[in-house]
């Protein structure tokens, strides 16, 4: 890099939790030069957020600074007087948070929130401040800046709030911006827009950025240098290209290997009748009659038709509000459709009791949130064994054997049966959920965002387990996800949904290589893809033919 003095120098930073003595940030050193974008990548528990927040002097009361120094612009932050620290906060260092829903004060007008920092750090009169704010709001893409000035945050969507947040921070043209997972909570389609806005804004003002993220692809795309953290340690740092192409540390290699990748298309045997087919499914929400008003029902699905062949994995993708989750729930029988039919093995399931029970026993579901999908008062054995209760003619010895077999299959063999969900990690819980779904050996599994709550490396393991089981037992799968990378890895066929309608449908390769519909193109262009190279590294590219970087 350049030979200028670094803007931020963190040296040997060690943070420990006061009560337990656990070291959460261990001897961490890195630096950021003026105008540079540096990324810190790590999974949950890596200490990346704590290390970054310490830069501003935000160390939670329970955490103690053991040793190390943080020098900002040549000044030591760790021993700085509160008054001097406040002068730097906002004016020199800004911060953007992950959760746009809670990062703006809900009871204060947006204009006033933006004004606060200016009033504190700049000598401007009210009119001058107002003008600057309106300019900045316009710059971040707020259509009606005057209106936004006198509006409350809840009147804006998550993406818009994140833009307002950026405006609030960039108003003061700080020398350094700390961005903690700034786009993680946003819908895939707007992630790229917000990210690019952030990069443009910081470039214009020559602001350096410290980007904290779990998403290696995102970080590699925008950062010149990457710091990889794991369990409080910096395991590797360097130029983005080097890290991607020639990872040195095993953990970095593991992270790269965990990135979703495409495998060759599978050949599926032709079948005369689809296993499950859905015909003209319509779901309406609401329409509740209150005491004083009638609500118009909101149509969530507008006549969806699809079919899943035996052994096939069909993915449904779309942004939030696309209706993909509603579709999954309707097919699972959790929501009653107002029109349309679901056919299992060619027979409509609502016409006869036997057809319904045949479907009920053969259709299972894996849910998104492993913390809410397991009854906290039951043991793992009870949870996984519960579906067998409804299997007629299965003896208790058989049930026991099946339980042990399935627990073994998901890698929870020894002693897990007696434990409770809260004693398990997120990945283990999701294994329990999968075991519960497959214990009756169903022929059809609906997976609703089954890995989106998991850490990157855990996600890779769970996906691999899922693929293995799918291959072994040959069940068909409807895989619902917003994550294109995951979809690319698991599916045979892909269905793209928007606003309750199917906009495009095709084999995985058709959708990813030759998308037809605008919305599909928009989805694909929003997230960078990664490709493995022969020498164990990866190559990063934007889909749809844009020039590759890094």
């Amino acid at each position: 890099m350049t030979s200028t003095k670094p803007l931020l120098e963190v040296d040997g930073l060690t943070l420990r939790i006061g009560a337990s003595g656990r070291t959460v940030v261990n001897n961490v050193s890195f630096s950021v030069s003026p105008g540079e974008i540096v990324g810190i990548v790590g999974e949950s528990g890596s200490g990346k957020t704590l290390a970054a927040r310490a830069v501003m002097g935000f160390i939670p009361p329970a955490v103690r600074l053991i040793s190390g120094s943080i020098r900002f612009d040549g000044e030591e932050v760790t021993t700085m007087a509160p008054k001097r620290l406040r002068a730097i906060r906002g004016a020199k260092v800004g911060m953007v948070f992950q959760e746009p829903m809670t990062s703006l004060n809900p009871s204060m007008l947006i204009g006033r929130q933006l004004e606060e920092g200016l009033a504190l750090h700049r000598k401007l009169d009210a009119a001058g401040r107002r003008e600057l704010i309106l300019d900045m709001l316009r710059r971040v893409g707020i259509r009606d800046p005057e209106g936004a000035f006198n509006a409350y945050p809840h009147q804006y969507s998550g993406g818009m709030r994140q833009r307002i947040m950026l405006a609030s921070v960039m108003l003061l043209k700080p020398a350094l911006l700390l961005a903690d997972e700034p786009t993680t909570a946003l819908d895939a389609v707007v992630q790229r827009d917000v990210m690019e806005l952030m990069v443009d804004l910081t470039k214009e003002n020559d602001t350096a950025v410290l980007l904290i993220s779990h998403d290696l692809g995102m970080v590699a795309r925008y950062c010149s240098r990457i710091v990889v953290m794991c369990q409080g340690d910096v395991v590797e740092q360097g130029e983005s290209e080097d890290i991607l192409a020639r990872p040195q540390h095993p953990y970095t290699r593991k992270l790269l290997a965990a990135m979703p990748h495409r495998e060759p298309a599978r050949d599926l045997p032709e079948a005369a009748t689809p296993l499950v087919s859905v015909d003209g499914l319509v779901v309406d929400y609401g329409g509740r009659q209150g005491f004083f008003r009638k609500e118009q029902p909101k149509r969530a699905l507008h006549g969806i038709s699809l079919s899943v062949k035996p052994g096939e994995v069909v993915s449904v993708v779309g942004g939030s509000g696309s209706g993909k989750t509603t579709l999954g729930h309707a097919i699972a029988g959790l929501i009653k459709p107002s029109q349309g039919a679901i056919l299992f093995n060619g027979k409509p399931i609502d016409k006869s009791e036997t057809a319904y029970w045949d479907y009920r026993l053969n259709c299972q579901m894996v849910f998104q949130d492993p913390y809410s999908s397991l009854d906290p008062r039951m043991t793992i054995g009870e949870l996984v064994g519960e579906p067998l209760r409804l299997v007629k003619g299965m003896g208790s010895a058989d049930k026991k054997a099946r339980l042990a077999e399935v627990l073994g299959e998901v890698g929870l063999g020894d002693g897990f049966a007696e434990r409770y969900p809260h004693e398990l990690s997120g990945g283990q819980r999701q294994r329990v959920a999968i075991a519960r779904a497959i214990i009756r050996r169903p022929s059809f599994v609906i997976a609703d965002e089954p890995v989106s709550a998991l850490d990157v490396t855990v996600r890779a393991q769970v996906l691999e387990l899922f693929a293995q089981l799918q291959k072994k037992h040959g069940f068909s799968c409807l895989f619902i996800s917003h994550d294109l990378g995951v979809v690319e890895q698991v599916s045979d066929r892909v269905i793209v949904m928007q606003d309750g309608r199917i906009v495009e449908e095709g084999t995985r390769d058709q959708i990813f290589d030759a998308p037809q519909h605008d919305y599909t193109r928009k989805l694909l262009s929003a997230v960078p893809g990664l490709e493995s190279t022969e020498d164990g590294g990866v190559r990063l590219f934007w889909r749809l033919g844009e020039p590759a970087t890094a």
């Binding site: 730097i88 906060r89 906002g90 260092v93 911060m95 703006l104 004060n105 809900p106 009871s107 809840h154």
Partner: protein, 314 residues
Amino acid sequence: MLRFALTRILMSVPTLLIVSVAVFGLIRLIPGDPASLMLGDLATPASIADLQARLGLDKSIPVQFGIWFGNLLKGDLGQSINSQQAVLPLILQRFWISAQIVLVAVALASLVAVPAGVLAAWKQDTSLDLSLVAVATLLLSIPTFWLGLLLLLFFGLKLEWLPVVGYVSIAENPIAGILYLIMPIMTLFLHEIGVILRMARASTLEVLRLDYITHARAKGLTEGAVLWNHAFKNAFGPTWTLIGLVLGNLLGGIAVVETVFTIPGLGRLLVDSIFARDYPVIQGCMLFVAFTYVLVNLVIDLCYPIFDPRVTAQ
């Protein structure tokens, strides 16, 4: 905003209606003829027959309710058996006495307890926080009737600073009136400090964890500005709701404090009427307090958007 207010106002109509049905039904649950009950021991066959006709007792229950409810809407709650006074003016006269005690006590308690709760949350887990919470829990655990008795013992009998029992209207004799009110107000004040402080602390803690507080600090604001401009206003909502509940609950439970200090308030009126089996007054008091409770909470809810503009968006 208007829509929010209208919906909220309309929502209290069924509640008021059901409250009326419940109070009407309660008296009908007592075995015996309602007219004889309402007239008490002084009833004559003629007066009973007259009241039976007025209450429509020969008609069906819904019609009886209709007649009763019609009278209620006109402000006619019947006549006290004991004093032969109309019930509503009697209640209003007593209500004023109780209301001034409750309002002053809760206002003072909020002024002390809310800042103290915010302070405790800000200094969470320090000795200041722990002692504030300990004091609050202690105050909360002392029943008002005993607290009143202790105050009476100390300030009234031992130090002889304040008049022990009785009541003089402030309008008649302002100084004596205030002196008589000091101890009852102090009793409720001390008790409610405990309740409100704990709530203010809990809701401030919730808010202090949120990102926008860190955002405010990250702008370089002083701790005072962070607490006042960002934490306080957002944390006050739940406490504000609690204050409404406290006002209503105190009105229902003030009888004990009025008994300790022999103050002729609404609570005492109700208890005396229960002893005297003065059913029209019992009915009137219950209706009045429940209606007041619903109205106080309505006003509290209508003010809520000041602290959280999100509630107006449906």
